[in-house]
């Protein structure tokens, strides 16, 4: 899951080396946190959240096999 999301996100930004994806996996759920270069958050969020919502949909589809709930958030610098 982490590798999948990381691969996609790296294709959405100009500074792929600053992409960091963390995965926290519990018994029934998985949380994914994505951080990118400060000035590139907009690229992974998108207009009206279009991009981040698409990422959530893909993460859910990938998590469906393991029957897990998946949450995905973009972590901005202040929250890190």
């Amino acid at each position: 899951m982490k590798e999948l999301i990381e691969y996609i996100v790296k294709n959405l930004v100009d500074k792929p080396e600053e992409v960091e994806v963390k995965e926290l996996s519990g018994e029934s759920s998985t949380s994914i946190g994505i951080s990118v270069a400060e000035d590139e958050a907009g690229k992974v969020i998108g207009k009206e959240g279009r991009i981040v919502n698409a990422l959530r949909t893909i993460a859910k589809a990938a998590g469906a096999k393991e029957m897990k709930r998946v949450s995905l958030e973009i972590i901005t610098k202040e929250e890190r």
Partner: protein, 206 residues
């Protein structure tokens, strides 16, 4: 994308060297400078080589196929992506294989998400919007035909009754299909109303 790094005395030499390693002419590669060189005394002593990273130029179509295939592999699905360029210079990625239901998702949610992401990735990589369609096992084509049927029958009703008709909420791509299907009908006109997910197409008598 396969990348090579190459060091040389100046940028031109570095590009030529990298192109040689990649086995193509220097016009067929792209590069990024990793570290700037420094001219030494007399241009030789104590100078530092310039270092570049270089890769073969690749078409949006080939890149779209590559990204889609990687995603399928990461998702552990037995499916193959194939891309071509459409009449309108749009990139069309088609997925063939098993487990297509998982790729399409409920009401096409997953395939729509893949389309959004690949379109964004290609638009970023090539600078400027690149319209991208992702299809799996003819799903979009079937959906397109269903929408066209709906549009034509609604247009017929409007023309017969003289009353305008509001279609159910649709995505931008779906509304485009309706506009295209009805653009040559002299008896009616189409326009969209509402915002975001609630945006609907209205068919009115002309």
């Amino acid at each position: 994308m396969d990348k090579v790094t190459f060091k040389a005395g100046n940028l031109e030499e570095a590009i030529e060297g990298a192109a040689q390693i990649l086995g193509v002419s220097k016009d067929e590669i792209e590069h990024k400078v990793v570290s700037e060189g420094k001219a030494g005394v007399l241009g030789i002593i104590g100078g530092k080589d310039i270092e570049i990273e270089a890769w073969k130029k690749i078409s949006p179509e080939a890149r779209g196929q590559e990204i889609m295939q990687e995603i399928l592999n990461y998702m552990g699905l037995l499916a193959v992506a194939e891309a071509k360029t459409g009449e309108d210079r749009e990139v069309i990625v088609d997925i063939k294989g098993e487990d297509l239901g998982q790729i399409i998702g409920k009401d096409g949610a997953t395939i729509d998400a893949l389309q959004v992401l690949i379109s964004a990735a290609l638009s970023r990589a090539y600078g400027g919007r690149i319209r991208t369609y992702v299809d799996a096992g003819g799903y979009r084509e079937k959906q397109k035909q269903a929408i066209e049927r709906l549009a034509l029958s609604a247009a017929k009703d409007v023309a017969a009754s003289g009353q305008e008709k509001v279609l159910p909420p649709m995505s931008a791509g779906e509304r485009r299909i309706v506009h295209m299907a009805l653009k040559d009908d002299p008896k009616i006109t189409t326009h969209s109303e509402g915002m975001g997910r609630d945006r609907r197409l209205v068919i009115s008598p002309r």
